[in-house]
Subunit: 455 residues, 4 copies
């Protein structure tokens, strides 16, 4: 998963700072690397680095980047291999000038496209699909104008691709025709902000205009903004997991408040799977919003069973092999005075592998809980995601080949219940045909080799 | 404010790791510097650095520290000047051997003691009261055994001082006779853990035994633990602010659950200051627990008006002077869909300067709230703390010379109410005579130059 | 200028270390960045960084690189822009597998080649001619075997290009047909070492075999070494400046000892331009060897007038603008006791801009010298280099448009004399037709736009 | 060994820069750590760090230090343990104010003094004798004026101690009564520079005034400089090793040019130990000056047999255990074309352990030399130094218990000869009674436990 940003700002020295704030508020979408490219007078300047936005940038670096248009990127490692070469935006130079590309998504036909280009004798400096996009776009721009080039590019790509692009000093944002990954736009006195989530628009002080539509491009040239339809598709495939887990709760995505969806998920979850208990607690932080809804619907007292250490981050090391058992205890701790002798409902957003859930249930029991009931704010995850969320392989997914009763026993809960698919759809409020539910149903909205496709 | 740890572990190579985990779970008590000293075979080895525990230590460093006894420290800058010289534990060498001191608290008679020692022609390498303690202890140990030395030391010190100390391979913990700062002890298969808060004992897998009593020392020598009474005082002065704000909610301090106290604060606050509203929201994260209690007592719906960026940390830079206005918006964002058209109650633990409160109220209003009512989980802070919590000068405290109505106008709330002192005492459940309430009453439990003392 | 290395070593874990030593002894050829690529079992691993070899690599990094074949590179910034993207070896992946390229030289037809490839719609991630070489080679290898591919590649390139290349686990070294930049090969028990200079072969304990001939490739596959003629040219263009300044004096380049050439330069310089003086001193370190020869031929006493600070490096900062006058004094100091009242001959290898020479002459005068005579171990530099040595623009070259008398006045010497071109040719001992003397004559051995070409 | 500096500069913002330049030119005296303390308006600011002067300081740091008086220090690790706590100047605060001490030397009675102070119950934060000096000085200044305090301090110290000290904004320099370590003073338009060696005075553009005399203090207060005699001693003990090896050749120490001494050493060495040979070469860089003198006296051709890698530094790592054999080869290389078939004389300044000498002789032989004769510019080192030069223990000194013939065989030379003590004295030109020759004679100028003392 990644977060992308595009900024157009009349005040040239302010542009990199606006981009920095926007990226900072998308930090939850990726912590591996961060980068900003700014289109200056005659060329594009880029700065990238490994780590958090605040670690990669400082005032000295930002103050050396000047220009009206910029794109930014935060990257979440999907491969495990963490290399500066893969940091974005990717900056290339071609006959049409400088091009910087920030990409959120994943091309399903990456190897096919690459193999085709390699067949022409080309060599690649990175292993990212962004390099493919940059090369294809460069070729298209050779013979066509921006709009035509985007159309040709789009026709070649299969998968998920929300993009912010600089072609010299023109800022382009584009969202794939199924709209897998979110993208929206805001307006401010200084210009425009395009971002993966509306919380980034809020952070810059801009006013949210609307979501970029699937298949739609935003082109900002010489301060003039244009919306252009590039591609049509009846089917939509908005990622349902953005609502369940990934997005920040204060974001509005495709017209739905993420907070609202999660709260409703909690309510429906309580209705679908009532439980006799003394308290409802989130698994922090992912279960917080849905557990509040659960408590309100069920009338059971909302009380935190677990406190999370706010300083746990990617820098945390688990020094000794034999200390691995501490791994969860270091990150969160049970509140004995809250759970002792109580029947506790724990609400989490989803269960991926189940190993952490087991440790949390055990921890709450060890703190004196009489019963521990687990409620999950999504249906079971049974299939992998090929569209940008790194969710482990099918084998690692605990629900891919286990019954709910088996999972309950594995995580050692007194009861376990998942939200129904219908419940989820009701909570999200978007037609099933406009969502990508592949990880929950195994039915993919576009063809993926070896998987079932249901358009 | 600081956090201190003492560990006795039979497995010598495990000792630094246990200390690391304990310090990590006290990270909220100080983020400026971190340090560990381990008593090895013939001498004490120390490692200290600026920054978070996870930044200062790695496996390579920990694996080079071996020994059964250790002390650790995390430091919160109280002065603004951030220097490695002030990092603790402070390691000194004297006639009796090596001494490492970790100190949480503040000596009220620091300058008097220092001036006395300087009068003997001594020079000091740091500006910390810990150096004074180390020098005095060294002198006492010259002529007396450990217990007598502690008694003499105690008789010279005035102020707050929770200490973990290594004298060669003897581990000593001591809590000042009024017990300003918390200190507790736990037991495990591997040995003992002493820490500022019980959450650190939990993190190491040890079992909580009890709080160290005011005036009591814990001495662990050759694996044998001894509790020794060093000093008597009828008066106690447990810091009430640990319950209000400072401690982690999953800690038990002097017999009281911090979570429980805060939850009750919320309930009493709701009873004392009812308000007609549509929703109750915490100011994250400090107001979370009390706002839950407030919502339950009042029956008003609990809903988050504000989402905090989880990546805000000490590393965050605010690059441009003109962007200072963004400072709060970058750290948290209002959830428009929750607050639009609503009467909102915001609950926070306390108000210090009031500047952030104002920005938050404005942000919630800008997101569409009809009314914003502010409720505070403590009485007004009217006087500075001299016992280890850096709370700004009296002039900076918004409540030191303003009426509640004036404060309400300053922070732009529709209504403002504080918890009463009686309400606070009821929530904490500790006799007024055993608490330090100086910041709320201006009456200090020990003499402080220029302040009123009420023992 | 750059330094390149190729290593084939049967002991897989030793390979990166051998490469490290070889690169370290070529450090004088480039201090901006360093990199090593090793061909492991299934792919090539590369590590690159800004700074010195010892700063970029440590045991931990080297120990993670395993394989029999490797290439290495040290880079000297020729552009002023110092970016990690330009560090080498450049690693690309193509249909034929992984390719790593280390390049010393400069393509005269870079923009032509790039423009051609851009015309096909390609985009480039770096601004280095090495990316062009990697792309062209990838394309050639698609349809041809290694030898044929090298022939086609060679036919497309114009300029100087000494290369060490990995194509999967095959190690290739190639030297352009005019042989601008040096390249030689050595043999050891462990395998083979190819390097820009023989001092790197010495450093690894290998035995020097011979220079790689212009137009010749060395191909090492499965431990078997093969010399293959790729291209023929009657003309040679060995860079004369390697002998004058660039190479280490302990290297043997194209059959000539660099030390021997410089020593003879000093002797001939003394014969051609005798001077009545009390002492001969080098300008350290570049003039050391020729000044020894000068002293011996002239019979004038050899005595150092100047001592260089051994810690001057690229990390040195000149903190205050107003302190720029100190720039030379900080780097070297006159030995007053040696020069006071003396007639001093200063010998340097060459004069580029003349600014440093002036400061040195002034410094020796200020230390009490009666007369200061300047002797230069090369003819005047009158034209820029397009083949890899960054020598400033023509305008900046003090001799491009000034008489020797004008230069003498500019640098404030009592007398000034340069070595004659005939003297230089005699010292080098290589036929004029086999050298590149372009910087001294303005006549270029291959066509360069806007310059005179004399093949 | 260490280097110290004291600067008084009327231009407050220039002071730290002047100190930086002076320290930079003393870098050869210590590379472990560097530090500067500047006396500003109301207090002393210090900055210290591990590594080279250029690594520890940058413009940002220097620009924040302002004041007229400063002291600086570069430290050479004498203990092997390399810790930031031991970096100097040491800054303390006492009744008389702030004191910063930079010390070059070693107290022979350190443990006696420390034990005395520990007997008073004092504890020490470092293991350096500088802390003792700072504590004693603080005590003395309590009751006495600067001059009296220095007299009392001096009476307590035994050993070598060249000091630059700030007492608030007063700059004090003091040299112990025997004058073990050098110290000199220069004058400039901006004020005064005091430094271990005159090359540092040259580097700042100041004019050398004279050496600070043994037992003499320089006190600069309010811009007024005063020389004060603190202590008398008929005996002097100027370290002879400063001339032989340690000091930079462009320095003048106690009236003698270091370059001149070394050149004469070479001449006398040639006269005392003639040899039939084809060439004379230095062991770079330590033997350079004396080998020039040797060549001129003997009439044998001066030619470099060895080239040193200019990038060898403290950062160099020797990655693999099995690669240790490369250790010398990496640092220097033989010039085969110079030594092949020749009888070579190698001249070095001294032999300490002999291990490097052996490797060098072998390397020159392997490059084809017919004979290798070794000449040493000092008598054999037979006893350890207690006055600040870390020279290994007596057991490690190859000459402490071996005949010259045994050493010759150990280093594998065809002949070996040392300079005679008389020859050394003649070259230095200072009376035997005014030098410390302890490392060469075993007779110490002050009492050292277990060693013979000859005053």
């Amino acid at each position: 998963m990644c977060g992308i940003v595009g900024v157009y700002c009349e005040n040239e020295s302010l542009t990199p700072h606006i981009t920095y704030y926007a990226l900072f508020s998308l930090q939850h979408r990726g912590q591996e690397s961060a980068g900003i490219a700014v289109a200056g007078n005659s060329s594009i300047t880029a700065h990238k680095g490994m780590g958090l936005v605040t670690q990669v940038f400082d005032e000295r670096i930002l103050s050396r980047m000047n220009g009206k248009a910029s794109v930014g990127h935060v990257r979440y490692s999907t491969t495990g291999e963490s290399r500066i070469e893969n940091a974005q935006p990717l900056l290339v130079r071609s006959k049409v000038g400088s091009i910087a590309v920030a990409h959120n998504g994943n091309l399903v036909n990456y190897w096919g496209l690459r193999s085709g280009l390699e067949g022409e004798g080309r060599a690649f400096l990175t292993d990212s699909d962004t390099e493919i996009i940059a090369q294809l776009l460069s070729a298209c721009l050779l013979d066509y104008d921006t709009v035509e080039a985007l159309k040709i590019l789009d026709s070649k790509l299969l998968g998920s691709y929300a993009l912010t692009i600089l072609v010299n000093d023109t800022l382009i944002a584009y969202r794939d025709p199924l709209g897998f990954r979110p993208l929206c736009i805001g307006e401010a006195d200084f210009g425009y902000v395009i971002a993966s989530e509306s919380c980034a628009i809020d952070a810059t002080g801009a006013r949210f205009i609307r979501d970029v539509k699937p298949g739609e491009a935003v082109i900002i040239e010489d301060g003039k903004l244009e919306f252009v339809r590039i591609s049509e598709s009846k089917r939509r495939a908005f990622c349902v997991f953005e609502y369940i887990y990934f997005a920040r709760p204060d974001s509005i995505i495709d017209g739905k408040s993420v907070y609202g969806v999660r709260h409703t998920i909690g309510r429906i979850l309580a209705k679908e799977n009532p439980v006799d208990a003394d308290m409802v607690s989130p698994v922090p932080d992912s279960g917080t919003t849905s557990s509040i809804g659960f408590a309100q619907e069920s009338g059971i007292q909302y009380l935190e069973a677990l406190i999370k250490n706010r300083y746990v981050g990617r820098t945390f090391i688990m020094p000794e092999q034999r200390m691995r058992e501490f791994s969860v205890r270091i990150k969160m701790n049970a509140v004995r005075s809250n759970v002792e002798g109580k029947k506790v409902v724990l609400v989490d957003d989803s269960i991926v592998r189940g190993t952490t859930s087991r440790k949390i249930v055990d921890m709450v029991r060890a703190a004196g809980a009489k019963e521990v009931h687990f409620r999950v704010g999504s249906p079971p995850i049974i299939a992998p995601c090929y569209f940008g969320i790194d969710m482990s392989t099918r084998e690692e997914l605990i629900a891919s080949c286990r019954s709910i009763e088996e999972i309950r026993r594995t995580i050692n809960a007194d009861s376990l219940a998942y939200l129904s698919l219908d419940g989820l759809l009701e909570a999200v409020g978007i037609d099933e045909n406009e969502l990508c539910l592949a990880c929950l149903t195994g039915k993919y909205p576009i063809p993926v080799p070896g998987e079932k496709c249901v358009r």
